[in-house]
Amino acid sequence: TRELLRVTFDRVNASFSELFPTLFGGGQARIELTGEEILDAGVLVVAQPPGKKTSSIHLLSGGEKALSALALVFAMFQLNPAPFCLLDEVDAPLDDANTERYARLVKRMSGTTQFLFISHNRIAMEMAQQLIGITMAESGVSRMVSVDIEEALRMTGDGAREES
């Protein structure tokens, strides 16, 4: 299994190094092993957003950390695409330019993997082929309604403001 781990590491590293600049619109990133012996070494993430010096992952901002983590999760997907992927408001820390790149990447990957994602950001909603609304018309009881993008925006608020 040393062989298997070696191949896994190399392939995830290759994908991560490709997906990071796709999500950030530039920059570079890689993963490193903390020790010689792959069977008991840890994995370090090294990330360099565009125009910045390489720094410890901890100095990155909230949005930069979320985007780096997405690049790593999607790199693992490219290696071994699970039947589906569930994402719960992963775009909450992202500004619109980064949300735009995230949505474009998810759309591209949906060719091989099925995505079910929760979001209240208009840009992410627009990438969906199908939108499902959950409401609590009766307090405390969840129901499902099929919605289009206009209704979806009304449910999470953009519309709610116009009405109130």
């Binding site: 950390k65 039947p83 409401t135």
Partner: protein
């Protein structure tokens, strides 16, 4: 193999039997705060074998059963079913021959928890074996819970390695 629908009945805030069709490749789920969106993700993780109540934001496993509202009484049973389209035959072992695969879990208030594959009563282990090595499991990288996306890179190097092994 891809997901066709998620059926919930008596699971958390889903008091009424509810079918969520997810036929497309890219499905968005929307709604106001507290309406039940993350409960759907919890339902999927629960059916795949999640055994820790704390990871489902509860104190005991019975906390996943509809607990009532100011106008409705608590229920006695929670059931969730995932329906997969398996026309590509990619489900492992004996399950590859079926065009459809149903994975179901039922829990009653007395604590009796049962798993079913195509209506056949099976062990939790059997459900986990179906998804072994695919990155899908109650806590694998294919399911990112609310507020946890950055944790995967903030964790210690040994923990990131565990994620990597899951992908192997």
């Amino acid at each position: 193999m891809h997901l066709k629908s998620i059926k919930l009945a008596g699971f958390k805030s889903f008091a009424e039997p509810t079918v969520i069709p997810v036929g497309n490749r890219l499905v968005g789920v929307v709604g106001p705060n507290g309406c039940g969106k993350s409960n759907v993700i919890d339902a999927v993780r629960w059916v795949l074998g999640e055994s820790s109540a704390r990871h489902l934001r509860g104190e005991t496993m019975q906390d996943v059963i509809f607990g009532g509202t100011t106008t409705r009484k608590p229920q006695g049973r929670a059931s969730v079913e995932l329906l997969f389209d398996n026309t590509d035959g990619r489900a492992p072992g004996q399950w590859s021959q079926y065009a459809e695969l149903s994975v179901r879990r039922v829990l009653t208030r007395d604590g009796d928890s049962q798993y079913f594959l195509n209506n056949l009563h099976v062990r939790r282990r059997d459900v986990q074996d179906v998804f072994l090595g695919t990155g899908l499991g109650p806590r694998a990288y294919a399911i990112v819970e609310q507020g946890t996306i950055s944790r995967i890179i903030e964790s210690r190097p040994e923990e990131i390695r565990v994620f990597l092994e899951e992908a192997a």
